[in-house]
Amino acid sequence: MKTNKICAIIGNEHEYADLLPLTENRPLSTLYFDCKYRIIDFALSSVVNANVRSVFMLVNEGRVKSIFDHLGGGREWGLDSIGSYQYFSFYQDMVRKKAQGELPVGDIIDFLKAAKAPYTVYLTNKFVCNLDLRAVLKIHQEQNNQMTAVFKRAAANRIAPDDHILTLKKDGTVKHVKEFRKMSSKTEVYNLSLGVFIVNTEWLIEQLQNSQTLSLEEFLFNSLPQIKSSTYEYTGYVSNIYDLPSYYQANLDMLNSENYNSLLFSSHKVITRTKNEVATYFSIASDVQNSQIATGCVIKGKVANSLISRRTLVDNGAVVDHAIIMGSTKIGAKSQIRYALVDKDVTIDPGVKIIGQPDNLLVVKKNEHITANIHGGK
């Protein structure tokens, strides 16, 4: 019988205070992206597009609702069929185990043994990219590696302080790994780790059995320069989410058709939760330019340079410009929204102005009802 070649672990280790209040009640993984996706869709789609059928997800106890809401039974990703296996575990459980003197990663080892895949891929939760894991596996096998790490050459202004930078030897193997904030040499471009690793499962189990680590990512980064490993350079579109400007920019990047095509129209489909919605209606007075809109919306006002998620109403005379609207929001007549991120289920009263600045984005929290003007910046 043919066994599954790769099993996957998706981590949720990264949370950033700079993304608040958007991540108040949801992990970074389930932040909206480009009207209808969530950040986790990209990692999960890479996984299922590589025909991986066993997925282990590490989540934080307090924020699990949003992940379950989105994934449901995993039908859209084909994870509800026989032979597929979704497993959830909590970080807090690892901490508890460690305190009780047990092996913190015991659940992960059990999963790896049950999945019976010779290779394991680990993916982090903060990058938006469309990665072909089978191509990475090919390199991993050809190089006869214990571990293969994926990186992207990225500009310094798109890297977070806690991101990891790979310094490579001439032969492409990893010389050392350092957090970006600890890098002494300053250049314009760095080999930014995308937090994706393919490892030999047998080796991983063996190592984890003797490890007290509470962070798989830290464990993998530490091992990388010490074992037979090499790298895979990802050349497609990527965005790195770590604060409001990076999150905002990643979304607006989709209004550049080159980025949009690279990420969403590659040969690997990005899968997300499907919902039943009516087609978006544009009234006779609507005026929409350079924007992306999901279905179920009613657009009667003016929309420019913006991204609008499902079931949003933009009423008569309203103006939405350089804004991200995250779904089921009611934007009242003659209101104005500029340079702002508006979370789900917000109501904005008619005539209200929410005016941010390019360097001072405003955020409207989920479920809020805005009755008075908000101005950002000067």
Partner: protein, 380 residues
């Protein structure tokens, strides 16, 4: 498990009056309203009315329809004690059994219906656009202690001779049925929606086919037989939006009425949702050269041209300088630069080359599925 009522949707018709739109798929599978296929309205009515076991009878070009319905998950029909079953013609020791008419199709699928063991059988056609609570109709059926209840809608008198007309008495009992009468006595048109007491219908069909009495069609044979045999046949009056989309003109009209939500369907009402199998596609991209007004657009569309009072279905691309007016563009169609399309229905996966003109000002223009128009061989 015992079901009070199950539904059978007759979806086998070719719909030849839809011309090239049905050359490779059955009428109920024709796209509608940007997001749907025609059968979605009937299927959604069923689940919204609490009917969770549905047989779909197919015959003509069933591939698209089968693929669309799948295991019924899109309508929540993959739950416990629910399901959608595709019923296709099959052969057995007595030879192959093509469905010769609506009642004959039910007769051929007695095994399926018996396996569901329903008290009542709801017979539907899969080619109308409407929202209707079949449970209300069942209540009428039970109150009147009817053997057969036929849903009727009052049509304008001058159109009545195009329909099957039910003449009723003061108790709403149907006393006469006339198929397309030249001089109609009433304007109660049959909607092709029937509730039968299953055991009675079963014995009528078995008896007739055993004795070779013609019982092929509900309208032609079964309803007149019920009336003649003194069975209780009642009308159930319906008064919402109901549109037969059997012709190019009516399909185009129904789509145009759908755009502004002026048809009374109230399609955005979340308490009676219309479900469909939704493709996974990125959000629609309205570029800075586009203008979109009085139109409906769905996921996966890329719009650089001018769209006026039209419907764009999933994954349609329209390049700069093109005008689409009063038209319906079905899924996957690509339209080049400086194209003009007016009063047209463009089928699925059509490719239209630069500078083409499709003008249906006199009569609604149709381009069939998969056609390629005005593309030079050296163009990409």
């Amino acid at each position: 498990m015992k079901n009070e009522m199950i539904a059978v949707i007759l979806a086998g018709g070719q719909g030849s009056r839809l011309k090239d739109l049905t050359k490779d798929s059955a009428k109920p599978a024709v796209p509608f309203g940007g997001r749907y296929r025609i059968i979605d309205f009937t299927l959604s009515n069923c689940v919204n009315s609490g009917i969770y076991n549905i047989g779909v009878i197919t015959q003509y070009q069933p591939l698209t329809l089968n693929n669309h319905i799948g295991n019924g998950a899109s309508w929540g029909l993959d739950h416990l004690d629910s399901g959608v079953t595709i019923l296709q013609p099959y052969s057995n020791k007595e030879g192959s059994k093509w469905f010769e008419g609506t009642a004959h199709a039910i007769y051929q699928n007695i095994d399926y219906i018996d396996s569901m063991d329903p008290e009542y059988l709801l017979v539907l056609s899969g080619d109308h656009i409407y929202k209707m609570d079949y449970d209300q109709m069942l209540q009428t059926h039970k109150e009147k202690k009817a053997a057969l209840t036929v849903a009727v809608i009052d049509v304008p008198w001058d159109e009545a001779s195009r329909f099957g007309i039910m003449n009723t008495d003061e108790n709403n009992r149907i006393i006469e049925f006339e198929e397309k009468p030249a001089h109609p006595k009433s304007n109660h048109a049959s909607m092709g929606i029937y509730i039968f007491n299953w055991q009675r219908l079963r014995s009528v069909l078995v008896n007739a086919f055993t004795k070779e009495v013609p019982m092929i069609d509900f309208g032609k044979n079964v309803i007149p037989f019920y009336i003649k045999s003194g069975d209780n046949v009642f009308a159930h009056n319906f008064s919402g939006y109901w549109k037969d989309v059997g012709t190019i003109q009516s399909l185009w009209e129904a789509n145009m009425e759908f755009i502004d939500d002026q048809d009374g369907l109230n399609v955005r009402d979340r308490s009676w949702r219309v479900f469909s199998k939704n493709p996974i596609a990125p959000p629609q991209f309205i570029t800075d050269t586009a203008t979109v007004n009085a139109s409906m657009v769905v996921d996966g569309c890329f719009v650089a041209g001018k769209i006026e009072h039209s419907i764009l279905s999933a994954n349609v691309q329209i390049k700069g300088g093109s005008l689409v007016k009063d038209s319906v563009i079905m899924p996957g169609t690509l339209i080049g630069k400086n194209v003009t399309i007016k009063r047209a229905i463009i089928g699925e996966n059509v490719t239209i080359g630069d500078n083409a003109v499709i003008d249906g000002t006199k009569e609604v223009a149709v381009v069939g599925n998969g056609e390629v128009i005005g593309v030079k061989p050296d163009e990409d």
